[in-house]
Structures are given as C-alpha cells and as structure tokens.
Symmetry: C2
C-alpha cells in the first residue's frame, strides 16, 4: 500500500475523489496496478479519507470501464484491455516532434500551455450558455465556412490588428496546421517551387514535403528573411508562394522589419506569388500594443492569413481561422471538405461568446504577463553563459540560442536528457549550432538549475572539442 | 411589425426569449432586418410578452455583436458586417453535394439527422461531468491516437459486432471522411490502381480523385459487389485497396452476402490488397440484432475498418474511428498529424461516457424505430408507382430507385425542384436512370404528397419520351 501511494499527494481536500481517480486511472493505464483495486476500507484508512470519497473514485473508474465491481468481491481491473505501458503522444517517422515526456524534471521542450492558465470556469459557462440557448442546434454541422457568430467575432477582433476583410473570406479551421496544409494544396502542385524561411516551423515543412513541392529556403537575418536572396531567386524562377511568420518567427523569435514587409508585398505583386502568413504566435506580445501582421499592409490580396487559437489557448478546442481571397475559395473549400468536412459547432459558438465578452482577451493578458516574467528570469540566467548568443524576442514562448562553434546541439541535448532536462536541439531545424528553449510549461523555480546545467553542458563540449578535456 | 413577425410562431412560453433571439438573428443575417431593432416596448406589446423577455433576446444579440445598444436610442444593427444573403453550406467544384436548401417544402435530399432526435440533455450532462471531473485536463491535446477512455469504450462496443482488436489499433478521427482520406493516402500513391463499388459514396470518390488514383469500378448486384468481375481484374492487374460498404451500401442499401464476404477476404490474401470497410450506416439496422461487419470475419488484418459517429448521431461532435493494422501505423499517424493534429479532447471523453452509460445505445434505438417507421410509410406510397423498381434495405435512411427506361433522373430532379421538392438525382452517382430518396429529415405527414408528386413527374417524362405527350 505504501509503495502504491508513495507518489500520491493531496493538495486540497475538497474534491479529493478526483485526484484519487486520476491517480488510479494512470496506474491502471501504465499496468502498475493489476488484477484488483485495494479494498475501499483499506485505502480509506491508509489515506485517512472517508470511505465515500474512495467509493466515488472507484465508481468513476467503473463508469469508464476500467474496473468492474462484483458484489462482495471488490473491484476488478478490466484485464481485457491492452494498455500501452506509456502512451506516446506522437509517433512520427522522424523524431523531430517530441513525445510528451512525463519523466522530464525540467522541461524546455513541451510547447503546450500550462494547464493552470486555462480559464476553465469561463469555458464551462460558455458551453452551457450555448447548449441552453441553441439546444439541438448547438450540435449541428456548420458547413466548411464555419459558424457565422464566430466569423463575426473574429472579423471584429481583426480590426484591432488593422486587418480589414469581409466575413465571406474568413473560414474556421481545426487549428493552423490544417490551414497550412489545405491552402498549400490549393496554391501549388507537386514539384512546384515554394519558398520558406530557414529555419521555420517543422509542421509546415512536413506538410510541404508530403506534397512533394520543391522547397527553396531563404535565410533569416536580424530583421527577418533575406529579401535580396529572395529577389535573386525570383529573377531566375517562379515560386507559387512563400510561407512565413512576420511576428515572433518560429524558431528564431525575429520580427520582419517594416521596410522588408513593404518590399515583400511589392515583390509578390511583381512576381505574382502568394504569401502564407502564419500569425499564431502574435497574441503573445509583451509590449503594450499587439504587433501588426503583414496582412494589415496587404492591399492586393497577396497575403493569406492563418491563425491558430490552439497554440497557447485551449489546445483541446482545436480552433483557428484563415483569410482566403475570394478567387481561391471554391478550390480551398473542396480541400477542406476532403479533410474533415467541418469544425465543431459547439466549440465555435462557445469561442465566439468568449471572444465577444472579453474572456479571451483577459486570459491572453494574464498569459502574456506570465510568459514575459518567465522570459525575464531565463534571460537573467542565460546572461551568465558567456559563450552563447541569443536574440531577445518581444513576445512568444521560446528562445533560439546560438552555441559556441564546434558545439553540437545533439550532444548537448543528449547529455541533458540523461539528467532529465529537456531542450530542443537545433539540428531538428537543420541548425546543429543552435538550441531552442520552449518555456510555456516551465516552472519558475526550476529555471536557475536548468540553465546552470545547460551552461555546464555547453562548457563541457566546448572544452572537449578544444582538446582541453581528456 | 406585422410583416416582420408573420413567420414567427411561439410553441412554448417558457423560454420564449430563445426563439425570439433565433428569429431576429436570422433576419439580421439575411439582411431582412436593417438599421435598428424595433423598440422593446413595441415588440412586447405586439407579441403580448413581457418586456424582460424581449430585453433578454436583445441582450443575447448584443453578446454576439449583431446589435449594439446606445442608451436612450435603442439597439442598432451592426452594419459593419457583410452577411451573405443566404449562407451556402457547401460550395464545391461540381454540384454533386447539395446546399442545405431551407426553402424546400419536402426534402428527400438532406441527409443530416432530425435535430429533435438529439439527446441534448444527456450530452449536456456528459460535458459538464467531464469538465467537473477533469478540469483543465478536459481541454488538453490528446495526441493523434485519441483519448484512451474513448478507445476503451469503442473496443468494448466492438465486441458486440464480433470484432476483436487491440486498443493500440483503434484511432479516433474527426469523422469518417477524414479516415477515408488518410488511410487511402497511406495505402496508395498517385496513379496506383484502387477499386470501388459502382455506385458508391461520393465523398470517397472525391478523396480518391484528388489523390489521382486510377479508379476501377466494380458493379453491384443484389448480393453486393460483382466478385467475379473483381477477380477477373485482379488476374490482370494489381490493386492497392478496395473501398466498400458491406452493410447498407451507399447509395443502393444492399448488403454483401456472406459467401461473397468470404470470397473477398480470400482474394485479398491471394492478391495482396487491403479492404477499406466504411461501416458508418450499420448502426441504423431495423432488425433485432445488428448486422455484422466484414471486419468480424477478418483474420489476417486485411480489413481497415472506418466508422463515423457523426452520420446520424451528433453531427456537431465530428467523431469517428478507424482500426489500422500495426504495420501501417507510423505512416497513418504522420498523415493524421498533417491533417489536423488531433481530435477534440472534451468531446472524446464526453462521448466515451455516453457510450459507457448506455445513452448512445438508447438514442440509436429510438433513431432506428423512427427511421424504420418512416421507411414503411415511404414504401407503402412507392408501391403505388408501378413503373419503378427498388430494393428494400433492412436499415439505413435512404432508398435507391430505378426509374423507367428513358426517364432521366436529372429531368425528374429539375421538375420537382420547381415544386420545392428535393430528391437526389442518380446522375450524380453516374446512374441517370436512378434516384435516391434520403429520409433522415423528412416529416411523416409530407411523405404522401412528396411521393405522389414524384409519381406524377416520372409518368410525365415516361409519356413524353414515349411520344404520348405533345
């Protein structure tokens, strides 16, 4: 009994059946609990909680068919089910996407939001409000364009970003990844030339590779992509589109300068290509006002604007949107239909309500403050490492750090992993001389130790490579 | 005021602000209401309801930003928004998918469920239960495999269909369309041969065409696809997979005979191809016991089983699942990630709860009874038309009807449409001599009139083509 419960901690007595239920559920899934649950009386005595509380947790486990009760004989674990020992959240051909690794002590890899940020009571209110208001109509199909209320709410919120468009051009997505995949299918065919920033978001590269495009990489400078490099290429060859992030570029955190934005739009007109702007990170600005998207300067419908609401806010909602020029609409919607027909109606309406009543803005505000203060702490610690260079983004939730020459990100990654510390090796972005630190889930108290271990690892490999270590 | 409210009916006084809100919302979207809402007092007097009720409806409209109130001046309609006059739910290149046409008087086209079937209070209970139980964890990403509780619940429910698989092989989808698209991408490349039944589900054909497969059509007989035709083809050429529906085939309603099922599995082994079984309709059986899927006979992992829960039950939830053999898993998951990363967590957990506590089965039972009694009424009426032939399926929610020779489905479709009656012309499936009647949303009282108009239209064109009409 003591072994079983050694990791079990009670933080709050009020709803103790929930942590107990979650704890036992995981033990069953990991096959650390087999055959039978301990008797209700035993657990109640051992944890010093009421038998009713234990019984409630057991009944929840029975509801989801993890256990089965037999009168007088107790609760048996449903051994018919083959649970994986530890479920992998991602299994991909290359391991450039990371498993959510629950055993990491200090985690600079996980880029999902800190759950305690989520405004669960606002969300519950919105969902119930919509179910009460629309009844069965809350659960119908919306069609591929998306729910009108949400599109109205998004159109309004876009005005704060100086984007003026029409509701007809706004389409709801199940996240930004879907938008990138669908619009690139719409714009280009197999073998066509397309351009990306280098480095850039891995999900986009995967999508473009799977469509067999010819990918042209444009380097990034301190003020965004190298526009002269792009121009030289355009003089020689036609591209169908360029995919980029003008604000808080992934992974570098760099913003595209105003001068370059204007030049890029000029080139798009001159050389007839589209720009897919992925603006999913721009809500996480630390400044007083939000950074304006490239789209806000777009006069000739050259920019296709894609944005996810899932990135930091409500990953489980899977919502995003895209602004598609009218001429591309029929072909885009055809692709959207093939992909998943349409996006959940209840979520769309609930999200619209939360956008309209200011809950989202309130929530984003607290995310921004939290992330900004975490970034400050990390930077303070990073400044103690003299042999690295990094750019300080004015928003976002990651840092892109240049290692000393001859130090490989893969070595640093592997060394730290053995110490249960996770970082993202730049090699996955094609830059082995860089690492990326994601800080959306890091605990403030863990930062000093994490960075001092990082410093140690970097110094170790630098000295090793300089021949100073045996 | 009288003109505005002439279509407004109050069915139940209790929540009258909701119908009023919905009514006004639609009027605004259709631009039938412009500038300003009538004053609260005026509406309250005219409809003889309390001013508070009207105020509540207005405040809901304000919440979704459709109107804006100015103290003392009333509620102004937000004219910044460009609403389409009537929103099209589908805009596709060919018009073989139908717009949801609200103006149809009698609708044998719409295949979405009758909303009043939906067990809204069960769904509300489940969602709130999960939000209370899992808090923030109800809104996280689940990863592409899907939620474990739902996969456990599905695995259990599959035992009733004699399907024995492992939880590892069950993957949650955002509807069956996504499954068909992803698995076909996994199994075949551009130009590869694949086989389909003819006629078959149009969404699948669209997906296969978009992937540029070489599509081989196999005709359907009274006991399912012509297996000798398939065998002859296999002797000449390799196919990567066949896509089919063994139960209540779309659009014919035909079941594949046991003998042919066994032969098909034998051929799949012998000629090394996969079978994608789309079993989305089989829940709508009218018999005592459910029809068994082809998958239940599959011993060598030749059958990939795809099923949607969205078809008749909870379209807004967008849930389905697929059973994928282990060897195809990494490639399949890669495609799933590109499509939309993963499927809503809260819905998955809520749906698992409803599967486990029997709500789904209860709901499906009442759907089956309702659809069976509607089918009986339609058949009774159809028997009055002597020059048509049709097969009576033992389940599903549509009928596939053979017209007299020389009568074109397109002509019948067009003639009935002018009378505000919708039917599906067989030409969309490549069979101009057939029509399809969908009856998931038809009102019983409208059936006699609808079918007698159909009889008139068929007779009209038959006589016209026989030269009997001038």
């Amino acid at each position: 009994m003591e072994t079983l419960f050694k990791e079990f901690k009670i933080e709050n007595n009020k709803f103790i059946y929930i942590p107990l239920y979650t704890f036992l559920k995981e033990k069953i899934e990991r096959k650390e609990l087999k055959n039978k649950l301990p008797s209700i009386r035993k657990i109640s005595n051992f944890l010093n909680i009421s038998p009713n509380t234990v019984a409630k947790a057991y009944s929840e486990l029975e509801k989801i068919n993890y256990v089965q009760s037999f009168k007088g004989s107790g609760f048996f674990i449903n051994s018919n089910f083959l649970f994986e020992k530890k479920e992998k959240n991602f299994i991909l051909e290359n391991d450039d996407f990371y498993n959510v690794n629950h055993s990491l002590k200090i985690d600079f890899i996980n880029s999902t939001p800190n759950f305690s940020f989520l405004p669960i009571s606002d969300i519950k209110y919105a969902i119930n409000h919509i179910l009460d208001r629309d009844k069965e109509l809350a659960l119908i199909n919306e069609g591929p364009l998306g729910n009108m209320e949400l599109r109205v709410a998004i159109n309004l919120s876009l005005k704060n970003l100086n984007i003026s468009t029409e509701i007809d051009n706004i389409h709801i997505l199940s996240g930004a990844q879907q938008g990138i995949d669908l619009i690139s299918k719409t714009l280009a065919f197999s073998k066509d030339n397309i351009a990306i920033e280098s480095p850039t978001y891995l999900g986009a590269i995967k999508s473009f590779k799977s469509q067999d495009f010819t990918i042209i990489k444009i380097n990034i400078e301190k003020d965004g992509l190298n526009i002269f490099e792009l121009e030289k290429i355009l003089l020689k060859t036609r591209i169908k589109f360029i995919y980029l992030m003008a604000n808080f570029q992934t992974p570098t955190g760099i913003n595209l300068s105003l001068k370059k934005r204007k030049k890029l739009l000029y080139l798009a007109d001159k050389f007839d290509f589209f720009i897919i702007e992925d603006d999913s990170s721009s809500d996480l600005y630390y400044s007083e006002l939000p950074p304006l998207p490239l789209k806000s300067l777009d006069k000739n419908d050259r920019v296709i604007y894609v944005k996810s609401f899932s990135k930091i806010f409500m990953p489980g909602f899977r919502l995003g949107f895209i602004i598609v020029p009218k001429l591309l609409l029929p072909s885009f919607l055809n692709n959207k239909f093939l992909s998943d027909t349409n996006t959940s109606s209840l979520y769309q309406k609930s999200f619209a309500l939360l956008l309209n009543d200011g809950s989202i803005e309130k929530h984003m505000n607290s995310c921004r403050k939290q992330l900004n203060s975490i970034q400050n702490i990390i930077i303070e610690e990073l400044l103690k490492i003299s042999n690295i260079k990094f750019f300080i983004p004015s928003g976002g939730c990651s840092l892109w750090i240049e290692l000393p020459k001859n130090v490989s990100s893969k070595s640093v990654y592997n060394k730290l992993l053995r110490e249960n510390i996770g970082i993202v090796p730049g090699i996955d972005y094609g830059f082995d001389n860089f690492i990326k630190l994601n800080f959306s889930r890091i605990e403030k108290k863990d930062i000093p130790e994490g960075i001092s271990r990082l410093k140690f690892a970097i110094d170790f490999f630098q000295e090793l490579n300089l021949g100073k270590l045996e």
